[in-house]
């Protein structure tokens, strides 16, 4: 029975979310927040393979996301929509529903190939030099896209909304939500199976000591190749979903800041903890969206405070706390968290290691 608790719970969560959004119980904003939670889970946990389990410091994860996003959106737009650049649709738009997962996988595959750009230098280079290679890769990818004028260059690329509408025309369901949830499940499952298998434990061995791992018959170069390609491929998947949710992408949204977000999720959750990454992704996204509402309250609170000390007139009347403070508060929270819990939320442990009693209720395979 314990074997089925997690799949059943996940299936119930899936059905509840899809059902609620089908009957308009969740408005579009909440749906998009849920989808961004899913994307951040994919991003964070895929970066955790390299940064957590393998102990490297890769900080160009958004590059692979960009490649996946661009490849899958270009294929979809080319095949299924009437477009200014690519002309008439090559296939009837109704087919887009059946092809969508394959197109996403192709995008992920393309990103995995691009992962070679980082994986091959990693054979010889480690540590901070590899970090710089990943940063350089991020800059190279974004500026390559900027220079490709046929796909919009720095103006961006759009037309993916039509794919969503085409899918909804076939069967009316919140398709993007369904794809995001399914790919999140797939990602977490794949990563869990990978890092807990005998083969995948080679990655953890590389983290602990590369030379010793080599002696103990771990093919370190191959393991690095696999780790980087899986990680960047899953990032490409996240990118494809991101592009189709927003319906518009431009190279600027895949810059270093996006990579920093992925890094934050990994280190907030704890290096080498999958459940930590999932928790951190949920927390981070909710914090980001929650502050949007908290900041106006803060301004009214400040004005109330000003009203008490009315003789001093501390704050001008029309003053509003701007949304920029969001990006001051979040790093501040992280810095404080690092001071009090320098290993992240979960350390390198999983949920079941921290709460052993949970094992009575589930076993996750």
């Amino acid at each position: 029975m314990q074997r089925f608790t997690v799949p059943i719970l996940l299936a119930i969560l899936f059905l509840v979310l899809v059902g609620m959004s089908y009957y308009d119980l969740l408005d579009l904003y909440i749906q998009s927040v849920i989808m961004f939670v899913g994307i951040n889970i994919i991003l964070g946990s895929s970066l955790n393979i390299v940064n957590g389990y393998m102990g490297e410091f890769a900080c160009g994860h958004a590059a692979f996301m960009a490649i996946g996003a661009y490849i899958s959106s270009i294929i979809n737009v080319m095949l299924f929509t009437q477009d200014r650049i690519f002309g008439a649709p090559l296939l009837p738009p109704e087919m887009s529903l059946y092809f969508f997962p394959f197109v996403l996988l192709i995008g992920g595959f393309g990103a995995a190939i691009a992962g070679l750009l980082v994986a091959i230098p990693s054979f010889k280079t480690r540590g901070d030099y590899l970090a710089i290679i990943t940063i350089a890769a991020n800059f190279i990818v974004t500026s390559t896209i900027i220079n490709m004028d046929t796909i919009g260059g720095s103006r961006g690329f759009m037309g993916m909304k039509q794919i969503t509408f085409a899918m909804e025309d076939v069967i009316f369901l919140p398709w993007m939500l369904i794809w995001v949830i399914l790919s999140t499940y797939l990602t977490v499952w794949v990563i869990y199976r990978f890092v807990s298998s005998t083969y995948g434990k080679g990655i953890i061995a590389i983290h602990q000591d590369e030379v010793a791992a080599e002696i103990m018959s771990v093919n370190t170069n191959k393991m690095k190749l696999v780790a980087f390609m899986v990680s960047s491929g899953l990032a490409g998947l996240a990118g494809g979903l991101f592009a189709h949710i927003l319906g518009y992408i431009n190279p600027g949204s895949f810059g270093i800041l996006k990579s920093t977000e992925a890094l934050v999720i990994v280190y907030l959750g704890g290096m080498g903890s999958l459940s930590g990454s999932v928790l951190a992704a949920i927390l981070f996204t909710l914090l980001l969206e929650g502050l949007r509402f908290v900041l106006p309250w803060m301004s009214s609170g400040l004005h109330w405070f000003d009203g008490i000390f009315y003789w001093a007139d501390l704050i001008p009347d029309g003053y509003q706390v701007s949304q920029v403070w969001k990006w001051v508060i979040i790093p501040l929270i992280l810095v404080l968290l690092m001071q009090f819990r320098p290993e992240g939320i979960m350390g390198n442990k999983e949920l079941a290691d921290l709460f052993p009693r949970l094992r009575r209720w589930y076993s996750f395979k």
Binding site: F57, P121, I135, A136, Y267, V328, M338
Partner: protein
């Protein structure tokens, strides 16, 4: 052709000087702590803003009657001191407690990244999105040698980069405090046993690095007198890449790496459309790192089992 080439060479020297000045700060901190201080680019930005406020403050007082030179002479040291104060504050508040707790190095790096974000966005939130324009302190003098022209400011920028390099090289290789800095990077655990005050040395390193970033910010603001809160982000990342290409932890490496990046960028812009600048410059750096993974001056570390 030759004239435009030489003109580009001078421009490259100026850009390279900015990269060098920032890269020196990265490499100093890295050499001592093996910490990538990602907030350094933003300390450069803070330096430029501090220079702006100090200069406008002095221009408002009666000192202006004495001439722009006096204002500049007062602004330079004050900017360097105040920026050093910001850098040391970061070290004291954010990095030192983590170091004491023995946290994983990468968590300190993430903290540095977050401190950079706080500085950038805090500046944006406090001062608003309007760009500040830096007052012109000293009249521009243009020297022309045939078709090649350069301003006194460019010469000053290049000379100060070289002077800073020589000063830092002297401090690190010849003085006692420099010896202590090298000792810390060699063995962090044995150094306190030898009676070397490790925290004082680290604070001194941050003072050196941040004041150089402040100087770079001031010179940058004089050369390109528009300030915005995100000016430090890209230039900081690039200077870090320059430091790594030179071999991070080595003063000569950072100096040469900064100039190398400046030359590559300016020459790419001279021959290709300017949107190709980042693409080609980073591809060249990637090739250099793939051929020589430890950078130009870096020494490969042997790992023991």
């Amino acid at each position: 052709m030759i004239a435009s080439f030489i003109q580009n060479l001078f421009n490259a020297l100026q850009w390279g000087s900015f990269y060098s000045l920032i890269a020196l700060g990265y490499t100093l901190v890295y050499g001592v702590l093996t910490l990538i201080n990602f907030a350094h680019g933003d300390i450069f930005m803070v330096g430029a803003y501090i220079a702006f406020f100090v200069a406008t403050f002095f221009l408002g007082t009666a000192l202006l009657a004495e001439g722009g030179w006096v204002v500049l002479a007062l602004t330079i040291p004050l900017t360097m001191i105040l920026t050093a104060f910001v850098g040391v504050t970061l070290e004291r508040i954010a990095y030192r407690p983590l170091r004491r707790k023995g946290a994983n190095r990468l968590y300190v790096v993430i903290t540095a990244l977050m401190c950079g974000l706080i500085l950038e966005n805090g500046n944006l939130a406090l001062l608003g999105a309007s760009r500040k324009s830096f007052p012109e302190l000293v009249d521009k003098v243009v020297f022309s040698i045939g078709p090649v022209s350069m301003t006194n400011l460019k010469v000053a920028v290049v000379f100060s980069a070289v002077a800073v390099f020589i000063l830092l090289q002297f401090i690190v290789t010849k003085t006692q405090i420099g010896m202590a800095m090298r000792a810390i990077s060699y063995d962090k655990f044995a150094v306190p046993l030898m009676g070397i005050p490790i925290d004082t040395i680290i604070v001194f390193t941050f003072i050196l690095g941040s004041s150089m970033a402040g100087l770079a910010g001031l010179l940058f603001a004089l050369s390109y007198p528009i300030l915005d809160p995100f000016m430090g982000a890209l230039i900081g990342w690039k200077a870090f890449i320059a430091a790594v290409v030179g071999g991070i932890g080595d003063i000569r490496g950072a100096f040469l790496g900064g100039f190398l990046l400046g030359f590559v960028e300016i020459l790419v812009v001279a021959f290709f459309p300017s949107t190709f600048r980042d693409l080609i410059a980073f591809s060249i750096l990637l090739i250099i790192l793939s051929v020589k993974p430890t950078g130009l001056f870096g020494v490969a570390k042997t790992t023991k089992i």
